[in-house]
Amino acid sequence: MNTDQSQLPILIVVIPLLFSLITPVVGWWKRQWCCPLVITALALSLISSVGVAYRVVVDGPVSYYLGGWEPPWGIEYRIDHLSALMTLVLTFISLLAAIYSKRSIERELPEREPSFYCVFLLLITGLLGIVVTGDMFNLYVFLEIASLAAYALIAIGEKGAAFSAFRYVIVGTIGACFYLLGVGYLYIVTGSLNMADLSQILPQLHHSRVVLVAFGFLLIGIAMKMALFPLHIWLPDSYTYAPSAVSALVAPLMTKVGAYVMIRIMFSIFGPVFSIEIVPTTTLLTSVAAIAILVGCIMALAQVDLKRMLSYILVAEVGYIALGVGLANRNGLTGAILHIVNDAFMMACLFFAVGAVVYKTGTRNIYQLKYLHRRMPFTMGALVVAGLSVIGIPPLCGFFSKWYLILGAIDGQQWPFVVVLLASSLLSAILFFRVIDNAYFDHIHARNGDLHHESVISPPERMEIDEAPLSMLVPTLVAALGIVVLGVSSMKIISTMIQHAVPVSF
């Protein structure tokens, strides 16, 4: 057995894949062993990614040749600082989501747990493969694995789920086909599919029209997968009607992986010189991102359904990351990468909490959550922490990423985006205070329709704590704790990992 540490990069991807095949077979034999197997697989993957991240921080980027063939003839797995950070975040959040899903799936899909967990692990395999690989076509394969698993998982929800998933299929397939077309153009003109090799060959071809078209197709394809405005139409419906365990896994992770691919394409393959000076990507990207932030926040204000509101907030968060990438200076890109990490934790905590509320009360309507802080104090506490982080209050993590984004906007002398970022914080404050208000108090005018008489009645005397089950509560609290820990240790994360991920020329 080759116990050399150099085999860890492949184990990150292969362990969930193998367990996704073992789980249905074991599950048909004994159903109770499904969830422990899934948790084992993700824990092993987390340990491998911690090992690889340690090696990357100490030694520098790690390369792994699949099949022993050297690049550019073979497929190469290349883990540098950005990839290591992404694998850590992905494995940790998916482990939390797996622990969370046990009770939720028992209630929503009683007889089909083995198949559910098989597709669950395949989705995680696809996402991990996207961030680990260093080959353009291999990325397409993993992207499609993750997308197909996501289509299937989203479709098992409630009444509107199948149609929303069909819409997601159409839009997602167009996006993946555009990505494939971009890879094809690059292959025709350079003859290589390896990312490191392309970054060496492409500078000589900067003024070729084929490279320009390839860049356009790649970015539009990835924007469709990432739900960047105006290609975000599939996102609110899909994430609202999906089961709670599925939206807890898919919502924090899929759009962030799309943002990772965009950063790779723009800065690692095509290089900052091409992306900023030759093609005015940054002006286009920043304007689109600013509109995304505003549209996301404003549409979230109009929602009554709690999960739909969170989906629109997710559209706004993707806008933040795209804004940071588009600003194209050191502070902006640092803010964008930090926001990828922070937003994964924030969205995970929010969707966990909302799923727990649905599990216990059966409703997602904001105006029907009364005195929830008495019945489910810990869940509402986690919701409040995550909400404060989305607004951007120190020392929670959301503050630090927004701080770097605003610094980046100021560095680039782009004052409208500073205004947009501050306005979105205000809008998020309105959004979350509305939820907290409805959950913590019970106003008379909400019941009588009498708008003039607004007083707060005191809650009934005895309201026991009817908290969510432990396997759903612990991931929520761990995610909330993670938000606080990430906020406090932001500087450490930036100095060890993110500052090596930003291109040197910034």
């Binding site: 057995m1 080759n2 085999q7 492949i10 292969v14 894949l17 193998l18 095949l21 249905p24 077979v25 048909w28 792994y64 040749y65 699949l66 099949g67 022993g68």
Partner: protein, 138 residues
Amino acid sequence: MIRRQDSIIITTLTRLLTPFIQLFGLYVIMHGHSSPGGGFQGGVILGAGFILLAISFGIDEAKQRFSEGLIAVFSSAGVFIFAGIGLLCLFLGANYLDYGILPVVEPRSLGMLGVEIGIGITVMAVMISIFRDLLTFE
């Protein structure tokens, strides 16, 4: 709901042709690495042979020959063979899917043959499964 065909020509021809279709599918899988063909193509041919059987003889009889549990076992087994060969290479000391380290006569050629067989089994099982699900719809 597909019922058994009334015409005797169709049923007899199908009965005669199916072994040859399956043999051809196996031939395409085996010769994948040195002529046009391979795992996916051979798997589709094998699956198409079964679909021909289902169309001619009715879905009930076809369901008897391939139960749902068997389909699940076949599809998992195929991917297991592929991932398992890769893991075997990992255990023997080389990188994942590095066939050169296998202790057989022509390691790279036989390693590729092994994964092609795995792919063929999985593709056949998935084709049959999709067809079954589309038909057992009420």
